[in-house]
Amino acid sequence: MAGVHASPQRGSSVEFAQHRAYAPGDEVRKVDWKVFARSERLVVKEYVEETNLSLNLLVDASESMGFGSTGWTKFDYARWGAAALAHLVLGKRDTAGLVVFDDGIRAKVPPGNGAPQEAAILRSLEEATPGGPTAVGEVLRTLVPRIRRRGITAVFSDFFDDIDSILEGIKRLVHEGHEPILFQVVDPLETSFDLDALVKLEGLEGAGNLKIDPKAIREAYLEEIQAHTRELAQRARALSVDFVHVATNEPLDAVLAAYLSRRLARARSGG
């Protein structure tokens, strides 16, 4: 895969990308007659234009990302994931940039390439610590106009925020021609709620405290968090946005490898 990245720009190219229904004005030579012969449907071929990739890494550093029950906090997992992607992209002489945010931009490394760029990104990730409230959607809306070059925008967050606000920001990205990838990083305890004793939950980001019997509300809690994730995933996919749900107890390399493989396979299959 060295030096070659798929561009979301559709145009004339040697690599077939996908079929599209024939629209008046399309060049006749692009019509796929084999398909017509099989199905009597007029479709045109679209090809992937080979170009250089631009990767924007957005890492949520709000206080909620500082939660961890496995020895890794969600933020640790997120920044490692971001670092891994940055390394992959920059290693292929593409460009990558970084934004660390909570309810605003905390740190920024403008897109660039080469080893110094990677060093800057890694340094910025290392220096960041989770804290502050969450406002994913707000940050995305703010960031979109400032991203000059279209490319892939990978967002690493737990997305424990209002879904509508999040999706509004995602839509902005999509509208501006970016390709968002949502990495929802959660802690396994958050998804299992496997607490035995009576607990006094001390909410992060000023969410308040609450004494509960976990067993009494577990079922309802799981319904809530799963519903949130499910809705987020569904609405993201409806925007053709990749949504990757990952727990901090899952091996990062396996997660990224699996995702990238799926993405590659999808690209090759034209889907």
Binding site: E63, S64, M65, G66, F67, K74, D158, F160, D187, E190, L195, A197, L198, V199, K200, L201, E202, G203, L204, E205, A207, G208, L210, K211, I212, D213, K215, A216, I217, R218, E219, A220, Y221, L222, E223, E224, I225, H228
Partner: protein
């Protein structure tokens, strides 16, 4: 609602119901802190489930608290009665107090079985109607002179107790005492919070003397309730209880019964070797005259020829027997009739005492050959008549055994002072101190001392130096002052006043015999000033009202002072046999009176038997022949007799002759006698009994009848089983509910 608790103190345990609440509240403090990022989802879930979880926990807590409270209340055994809405839930348990008339009259045979057999049978029927499994309880009271109260038992144990009581008691019935015990049982139960509703049944022969106090007057038939019985019935009534009286007596209102009512010794009393008369009193309690009823008498086991008497209806007759006792001491006499339907009163025993001769020691201060001149001549003539009637075996039948000694012999170490019951100092000059000391010891031990004065006294104050002490420790009852003499023999003093109540002088209280004493001339006497402890029995008509006779108690004995001479020297009393003989004899008998113990006892009475010699290996033998060793130490009395350890009344509950056997001594008889009232079998009517108090109701029960009372027997209103069941239900519900909640909370998608 709940009227009270049988164990009120345990009801406090209901406060333990707060424990689950306390645990719940304490648990709220024990929450482990946990940082949490996904709070929005927790809050959403909490809001959604809050009400349901609260209700679940509240229900669980409530079930736990109710279980504890129900269990505590069950243990406290609450009860309800009357109008309480919980009456429908109360225990059906019955508490029955069964008062069984065990008096002697119930031994009356009515046809084949006795009244007591019927009472036992009826009691058994009532016990059969109880249910062990339901928790029914019985308290048996065997009523007699004193009630025997058994503890609360189950019906099975009560049947065993009943079976062990085979015969009625040889006692009359004290119904007030028995019902008093019953009232106490329930009053104590009420104090502990026990509910009412128990049942009291009296199974009796309805004997009139037990229910009514018969005080016949001309205008009334008698028959009022004794005050004590009415009092006890009032106590029972105050507890909202009543006594159901079951009449199990014979059909007749006045069942016939002939009884030995009394055995009396006629005349002065028995003396060994001298015949005396014994009158056996026989009562006919029937409505028909009884002719030629045979009365037999046994003395010390030997039968005398029987006699026949006619006894009028509802009347009495006497059979008089002449009895001779060979030996002095206590003897048993048993009178017997031919048997009738009530056998316990067909014989009666009595123990009589034929006292041994009184040991009289006369210390003659002026002996002489001729009776008329001998100081003690006339006295000895009275005590030992020369032409004595010989008793059995040629021995004298005189009640006195007299020894005469001189004052000098009194001082001798072997003088028979310790054997004397009575010592007479007749005109004895001053005695040495040692002799006086021995006299003091003997009198203090119970002997009598008669001191008479005369010309041998000399100076009265010297004479009385050791005999009189101002502190009252001397033998004399007064201090001698001087000799008083009439101017000449034409003048004399007389006894002007005397104590007619004194046994020695009672004879002269009869107007016919008074002059024998009051007219007897006295020419000389010694005037004494009586001590504060002295009792003046007779006084002269001198200006100072000087005493003629004085006495004082001294230890267990007595001292009498005769302030003139015992012979004719100073007075003419010996010249008048009509005066001298009864006066001297009564004085001697009074002074020489020995300890006599009542050996005729009521059933159940105890006795500390006194015997003459140390009792070795004492054993009590009952009329049936059963023997019981008498354990414990005997104690020596001041009169040198011995008192055995107390014979408990419970050892002598049957009528008849008992004897106490000791090693080396003759058996000592005791007689236990039936209360004569028990022989009158006249029965009260139901109306008379119910008129005593509203708390008494009479039912007549035929054999095999079930409950005599038509209404349902009162039930004890306890609720504990329902509460125990409720506690169990709450516990099970709590367990199931808790398990369901736990399962639901564990199984999540």
């Amino acid at each position: 609602m709940i009227e009270g608790f049988l164990n009120p103190g345990l009801a406090i345990g209901a406060t333990l119901a707060a424990v689950p609440l306390v645990i719940h509240l304490l648990n709220r403090q024990r929450h482990r802190p946990q940082r949490w990022a996904a709070m929005r989802f927790v809050l959403a879930a909490y809001r959604k489930t809050r009400r349901r979880v609260q209700l679940e926990n509240l229900l669980l807590l409530l079930l736990r608290m109710l279980a504890v409270a129900a269990l505590a209340f069950a243990v406290a055994r609450p009860f309800a009665s009357g109008d309480s809405p919980l009456v429908g839930l109360q225990e059906e348990r019955r508490d029955l107090v069964l008062v069984v008339d065990g008096s002697a009259s119930t031994g009356l045979r009515a046809e084949v079985e006795s009244v007591f057999d019927r009472i036992r049978e009826r009691a058994g029927e009532l016990l059969e109607g109880l249910d062990d499994g339901r928790g029914d309880r019985v308290r048996l009271v065997l009523a007699g002179e004193r009630p025997r109260v058994f503890p609360w038992t189950d019906p099975a144990d009560a049947r065993s107790i009943l079976q062990s009581i085979e015969q009625p008691l040889d006692e009359a019935l004290d119904l007030a005492l028995a019902l008093g015990e019953v009232a106490t049982i329930f009053e104590e139960g009420a104090q502990r919070g026990a509910g009412g509703g128990a049942e009291i049944r009296l199974l009796t022969d309805l004997q009139e003397s037990a229910f009514l106090s018969i005080a016949p007057t001309e205008d009334s038939d008698g028959g009022e309730a004794p005050p004590a019985l009415a009092e006890q019935l009032a106590r029972i009534d105050a507890l909202d209880l009543s006594v159901l009286v079951e009449d199990l007596g014979p059909k007749e209102l006045t069942p016939p019964n002939l009884a030995v009512e009394s055995i009396l010794v006629l005349g002065e009393g028995p003396r060994a070797g001298t015949p005396f008369e014994v009158a056996v009193g026989v009562s006919n309690h029937g409505e028909r005259e009884l002719l030629a009823e045979r009365v037999a008498l046994q003395v010390g086991g030997e039968r005398l020829p029987s006699q026949r008497v006619d006894v009028p209806a509802r009347g009495k007759a006497e059979a008089v027997f002449t009895v001779t006792l060979e030996d002095p001491g206590y003897h048993d006499i048993v009178a017997t009739l031919e048997g009738d339907r009530l056998s316990v009163d067909d014989s009666r025993a009595r123990v009589v005492l034929a006292p041994p001769p009184l040991e009289v020691l006369v210390v003659n201060g002026a002996p002489a050959d001729r009776v008329e001149e001998d100081e003690a001549g006339y006295l000895l003539a009275v005590l030992e008549p020369p032409t004595d009637e010989l008793g059995v075996d040629g021995e004298s039948s005189s009640p006195f055994r007299v020894r005469t000694i001189t004052p000098a012999a009194l001082e001798a170490a072997d003088s028979p002072i310790e054997e004397a019951d009575l010592i007479v100092l007749a005109n004895v000059p001053a005695l040495p101190s040692a002799a006086v000391t021995r006299l003091e010891e003997r009198v203090a031990a119970g002997a009598g001392l008669l001191i008479t004065v005369g010309d041998r006294l000399g100076d009265p104050s010297s004479w009385s130096e050791d005999l009189f002490r101002a502190d009252g420790t001397g033998l004399l009852p007064g201090e001698p002052v001087r000799r008083v003499s009439a101017a000449d023999r034409t003048r004399y003093y007389r006894v002007s006043e005397f104590d007619e109540g004194h046994p020695a002088l009672a004879f002269f209280g009869d107007e016919r015999w008074r002059p024998l004493l009051s007219e007897a001339p006295f020419y000389d006497f010694v005037a004494f000033t009586p001590s504060p402890t002295a009792r003046v029995l007779a006084s002269f008509d001198d200006a100072a009202r000087s005493p003629f006779l004085m006495e004082r108690a001294y230890g267990d004995g007595k001292v009498t002072l005769w302030t003139s001479s015992l012979d004719r020297a100073w007075n003419r009393v010996p010249d008048s046999p009509g005066t001298f003989v009864p006066l001297v004899l009564e004085l001697v008998q009074d002074l020489g009176a020995r300890f006599q113990q009542e050996r005729n006892l009521a059933v159940g009475s105890g006795l500390e038997l006194v015997v003459d010699s140390f009792p070795r290996g004492a054993t009590l033998i009952s009329p049936s022949g059963a023997q019981r060793p008498i354990e414990g130490d005997s104690t020596e009395r001041p009169d040198r007799r011995w008192a055995l350890p107390m014979l408990d009344g419970s050892w002598m509950e049957s009528v008849g002759v008992y004897s106490v056997r000791t090693e080396g001594a003759r058996s000592e008889p005791l007689a236990v006698q039936l209360d004569a009232r028990e022989s009158d079998l006249a029965r009260a009517t139901a109306l008379e009994v119910e008129a005593i108090h509203p708390a008494l109701r009479v039912a007549t029960v035929a054999k095999g009848d079930g409950d005599a009372a038509p209404e349902a027997a009162p039930r004890q209103g306890e609720l504990w089983r329902w509460l125990a069941l409720a506690a169990l239900v709450f516990l099970v519900a709590e367990s199931l509910w808790g398990a369901w909640i736990g399962t639901r909370r564990r199984t999540t998608s």
